[in-house]
């Protein structure tokens, strides 16, 4: 896969380089905070929350994953349970993986290709009554087979570049076939994996504990004797816990103010790693409601937003940072600054942009329009972004109020079309632009699009892009798709991409930030310099 240098530079990960004297030491227990009350269940196949990953990822192996030594890269995938990354055959439609020998589940039983195939079949083709949250990621997969104990074959319906990144999904834990066959719900409440740590205890709503797996298949790993993850939803508790060294870190991300507070109080005892985050707040007008059915009004809304000046200002107070299009800014498929500046909402001259917005509103008879912006009751960065947007829209004479709802009623509002314009969000794990931009497709294709529009041209463009395997052509198609969605039709608009800030105790070594809080969480390479 091509990896342009520009794309690599665009990833703003500031992973601290290891020095020569940073020789890993074994031993110790890492205590970290999990910014949630508790995971809904322990089953990665079923859940979508980081609370499940941060609790249970260290217990499991996956087939392939982002490179733990270079997780900031959006294109580096390496084997975990397989022995070598395969070259596709059959015109890109068949991928054959050889599985490591000698891998054992924590109960001592051997892990074979049958377990890998059974786990993937549960994800891609879940049996009746079983929830698989990411079934739709794998529309390209026809079947998964295990012809012998060391071989797993994925047969695709069509060749696509989206397949390998999808396969590196951090929730795709390998379960034991025998258990899945007996009770497909067993993993919701129980843990049995083959990862670097063995389950040592779950204090419900309090903490998760793991101990070193002495039979781990990667020699010398993990370094830690164990870990304790403490659940704490309140940010103040987590910051205080790190300050008082009750915990060494958290893995989701803190706002700039918390980072600054910790650094001010603890100085060089608190290094910080930062990265662009594969999450973004979007603005979705409800096309069913007038006047948002009029493309001129939608374009006016996006033309009023000054992303270029807004991003650096917001970055001082909120978890946002980088201006980008529909693709994660660090990806080779992302738009360059010049390409972005040709799209409504990213014009370099904001005065010209707002003048055009006013002209469009006048033409559409929507001058001085009043409407409500629905938002989710989450501080970072939702409320900051929404407040900024309302101010931006006031500059073209719009009168916007904000309706903030708790998560449940917020989703109810989205699904029942009970909004004028809403803050929406797209937060993905592995950077996989071809699947990630699915969010912009009409609801008939992508159920979590709440714009209430149908657009066959957009769907056709997307399908063409999904099936294209030549990178250059695919990138051109992505630009066409992006321009069409954000500008020509203005179905949805962008706000600055989120920014991940991880302050941590300086004795924690071997952990590197990635563009997602779901990735690189098995803790195998983490060690303590105490």
């Amino acid at each position: 896969m091509t990896r342009p240098i520009a794309a690599m530079l665009a990833v703003l990960a500031i992973a601290l380089p290891a020095t020569a004297e940073d020789t890993p030491k074994s031993g110790g227990t890492l205590t970290y905070m999990i910014p949630a009350d508790a995971p809904p269940s322990l089953d990665g196949h079923r859940e979508t929350t980081f609370a499940t990953v941060h609790s249970a990822a260290p217990f499991y192996s996956v087939l392939i994953r982002v490179d733990p030594n270079n997780p900031a890269s959006t294109t580096d995938f390496v084997c975990d349970l397989c022995t070598a990354m395969p070259k596709p055959t059959d015109d890109g439609k068949t991928y054959t993986f050889k599985i490591r020998s000698g891998v054992k589940f924590h109960d001592g039983s051997p892990l074979t290709a049958a377990d890998v195939a059974a786990s993937w079949n549960a994800i891609i083709h879940p049996p009746e009554g079983v929830t698989s949250a990411r079934e739709s990621y794998f529309v390209m997969v026809d079947k998964v087979e295990a012809p012998d104990p060391s071989t797993v074959i994925f047969r695709l319906k069509f060749a696509t570049n989206a397949f390998m990144p999808a396969l590196a999904d951090p929730f795709a834990w390998i379960y034991k076939k025998e258990i899945l066959d007996k009770d497909p719900h067993w993993y919701e409440k129980n843990i049995l994996g083959s990862g670097p740590f063995k389950f040592a205890g779950l204090e419900i709503g309090q903490s998760m504990k793991g101990v070193r797996n002495p039979d781990y298949y990667i020699e010398g790993l993990p370094y830690l004797d164990g870990f304790t993850g403490i659940y704490a939803e309140k940010q103040a508790v987590r910051v205080e816990a790190i300050r008082a060294d009750r915990a060494a870190m958290e893995f989701r991300g803190m706002p700039p103010a918390s980072r600054d507070q910790l650094v001010k109080e603890l100085g060089d005892k608190i290094p910080v790693q930062e990265s662009d985050w594969n999450c973004v707040n979007l603005v979705t007008p409800n096309h069913k409601k007038k006047p948002f059915d009029d493309v001129r009004v939608r374009r006016a809304l996006t033309l009023a937003i000054d992303n270029w000046r807004g991003a650096p200002a917001l970055a001082k107070i909120a978890n946002v940072h980088t201006v980008g299009g529909i693709v994660f800014p660090g990806s080779p498929l992302a738009a360059t600054k010049e390409e972005l500046q040709a799209i409504a909402g990213f014009w370099p001259d904001i005065d010209k942009s707002r003048a055009e917005a006013k002209r469009l509103l006048k033409e559409a008879g929507a001058e001085g329009l009043k409407f409500e912006l629905m938002n989710r009751n989450v501080d970072q960065p939702y409320k900051y972004v929404a407040t900024w947007l309302i101010d931006e829209w006031s500059k073209i004479g719009l009168h916007v109020t904000q309706r903030v709802l708790p998560t449940g009623p917020f989703f109810e509002g989205l699904r029942n079309d009970n909004f004028d314009v809403t803050i929406d969000f797209n937060c993905q794990a592995v950077v996989n632009p071809l699947l990630d931009v699915g969010k912009f497709l009409p609801h008939s294709v992508y159920t979590e699009n709440y714009g209430n529009y149908d657009d066959q041209k957009e769907i056709d463009l997307y399908q063409q892009m999904l099936h294209e395997t030549d990178f250059t052509k695919q990138r051109a198609l992505m630009r066409e798709f992006e321009k069409y969605v954000l500008d020509n039709e203005a179905h949805m608009f962008m706000t600055p991409w989120w920014y991940r800030i991880i302050p941590y105790r300086s004795y924690v070594k071997g952990w590197k930030i990635s563009p997602s809080h779901y990735l690189n969480q098995d803790l195998a390479t983490v060690w303590l310099d105490k």
Binding site: D37, A38, P40, S41, R46, E47, T48, T49, F50, P126, V130, T131, A133, R134, E135, S136, Y137, H185, E188, K189, E203, I204, G205, Q206, S207, T228, I230, Y231, A232, E233, K234, A236, V237, E240, A241, R243, A244, D245, R246, A247, E265, C279, P406, T407, G408, P409, F411, E412, G413, R415, F425, N426, C427, Q428, A429, L435, G438, K439, T447, E448
Partner: protein, 323 residues
């Protein structure tokens, strides 16, 4: 007395049934869907079929009437079902959190009464003196200060003072250990929330003790006791305080019941995995079964506490049980 007790206990049943019906219906009126919250709140992709499978698994695709019948039938059998969020039995989830809430509630009540009754009595005895004024300021400050805010101040003060004194900040542990496993660690964790909540509770009780004492001290029988030359501490402790405590006991009962499930924010500030925090989570997550069970637990705590208070009342004042 026995007839009175039986009458009071029988009244508990219709109260609980009414509350059960109300909470079931109110929960369904809150907009939202636990499956969508679970699958969608992370922001990642999820499949509509996953939502449907989740509904089927949780029984949410069944008619509401059947769900209600299940709930009421389970309630009478003491079976609240399984949490829709975690899939674990509701009673197991509650039992895991109940000890910490109970421990803090008990400690807070003890702290509150140790502060409130002596100070409230002293305030009444020294009415309008500088001592009374100081005590009234203490109690009004307690009423005006939200306990969670006080909790935050406590933690910040501990962090800053320890940093200034020892060079590195210290705070109470954030992962709970039962008192029987490690008493010192347990107490260092729960003492601060207990003080925080206890102070707030003491303010209410202090005011009540003071006003009740002032009323009793003006009664004829107190004047008679003084006239016949009884020692002052006997008049205060045996004759005045015992009678003044009647409304105070009622208040303590109500406050104690509230503390079991009402420490919502304090538990979050101190990262205590108690019933209050579970309550917030289950409402946020739209976990019907858990919320229903918790509401019923709080209702039952209130009803039972009030029943016990009524019985104590009857014991303290014979006119009530014979009335």
């Amino acid at each position: 007395m026995y007839r009175y007790i039986i009458k009071r206990l029988l009244l508990v049943i219709p109260t609980l049934v009414g509350a059960a019906a109300l909470v079931f219906l109110l929960m369904r009126l809150i907009p939202g869907d636990i499956c969508v919250v679970r699958l969608g709140s992370g922001g990642g992709t999820f499949d509509e079929r996953a939502v449907q499978a989740c509904h089927a698994q949780l029984g949410l695709d069944r008619p509401m009437f059947l769900q209600f019948v299940d709930f009421v039938w389970g309630f009478f059998r003491g079976d609240f079902g399984t949490s829709m969020w975690s899939g674990k039995p509701v009673l197991y989830e509650i039992a895991a959190r109940f000890p910490i809430s109970l421990e803090i509630a008990i400690m807070a009540v003890v702290v509150a009464n140790l502060i409130a009754i002596p100070l409230g009595t002293l305030s009444a005895l020294k009415q309008n003196s500088p001592i009374d004024l100081v005590i009234r300021v203490i109690s009004i400050a307690g009423l005006a200060t939200p306990s969670f805010w006080l909790g935050i101040l406590f933690i910040l003060a501990i962090l800053n003072v320890s940093q200034a004194a020892f060079g590195s900040p210290w705070m109470p542990p954030i992962d709970y250990v039962p008192i029987w496993k490690d008493p010192l660690r347990n107490l260092s964790m729960v003492i601060f929330p207990a003080l925080t909540v206890g102070y707030r509770t003491s303010a209410v009780t202090m005011r009540m003790t003071r006003s009740a004492m002032l009323e009793v001290l003006r009664e004829d029988y107190i004047r008679t006791a003084r006239a016949k030359g009884l020692v002052e501490h006997i008049i205060i402790n045996r004759h005045a305080l015992k009678n003044a405590l009647l409304p105070v006991v009622t208040l303590i009962g109500i406050e104690a019941a509230f503390l079991i499930g009402g420490l919502v924010v304090t538990e979050q500030v101190f990262n205590l995995n108690g019933i209050g925090r579970l309550f917030v989570q289950s409402v946020q997550n739209q976990d019907y079964t858990m919320t229903q069970a918790l509401v019923m637990l709080v209702v039952a705590a209130f009803v039972l506490t009030n029943t016990v208070v009524d019985l104590i009342y009857a014991w303290l004042d014979p006119r009530i049980r014979y009335g």
